[in-house]
Symmetry: C2
Amino acid sequence: MTEHSTGAEIERVIQLLARLPGLGPRSARRAVLHLMKNRHTLLEPLAEALHRASEAVRTCSECGNLDTRDPCGICSSTRRRRDVICVVEDVSDLWALERAGAFNGIYHVTGGVLSAIEGITPEDLNIPRLVERAGAAEVSEVILALNATVEGQTTGHYIAEALKDCNVRVTRLAHGVPVGGELEYLDEGTLTAALKARS
Amino acid sequence: MTEHSTGAEIERVIQLLARLPGLGPRSARRAVLHLMKNRHTLLEPLAEALHRASEAVRTCSECGNLDTRDPCGICSSTRRRRDVICVVEDVSDLWALERAGAFNGIYHVTGGVLSAIEGITPEDLNIPRLVERAGAAEVSEVILALNATVEGQTTGHYIAEALKDCNVRVTRLAHGVPVGGELEYLDEGTLTAALKARS
């Protein structure tokens, strides 16, 4: 597309939107047109909302969550248990657990997994801070809710090792058949785990 | 998701992004996280670019294109032929033709197709203005580049009829086998059209 036909301003929005996950250049163009056609109801509110979020949202210095407050709403809540810390890889995992509504403790976001190849060390993952938090007298359990990938599990092992001297129980999410899942389409690893953990 | 865990600012961006075509609530959340993690390189520039686009971009009063100028870059270009007007349904079609780079005339964007059910009339599609533009002495051809749908073709017929008294040739895009397309997967209508128009 030439600047001639669209203008540098539109072109710039397309380029930036195309960098979002799930959007390519083609869908970014469609999105821009949709924005332009709904200028007052969508384009202007979105520009404003992004600007506000960029001003207001910060990373919680306690747990790594994103919120307008630091400590975040979860860390500063009086209604949450402070004896269980749930360790997740990413803020999106924290959000997923919050949507499930099944956990009422506090979190620790590592922001990634250990990787020798990418040079990601325990310090990068804020693990020393986790050990410090887990060492507090009030904490009795650390749940490792890391992804069930090789990297996630390796990181889990490392964290469990690092927490050995803290007086906490280290637990892990159960493996098993997803709710609504069909056995026929499950991999052998999951089936074996589900069978072993039968109750 | 509760406000507690994400903050109203993030929630607002998710809601707005989820209204873009191609993004649902789930991908909007992923997009927001990606934005937050790339605050300086993506979130702030995007907020700024949207704000600028919303200030600067307008609809061309000549052809209906979107640009920062009115008349738009195409309408005001001295390098484009002014004797051929290409009629398209949507700005996205105009962009697609510009990407193809095969047309060097000017455009007329209808902004939709005639629809009795949705109450879309020739006036809504800016057809009187098209008739006026096509009546100019310099114009010799109007190309109907409307979608090959029933509504697109009906609208094309209506426009051709409306242009009868203008001294212009009304042409249409050819039907045929898409470049790279396999006959086996083409519908009968396209195959029949391609066969009839063989050369």
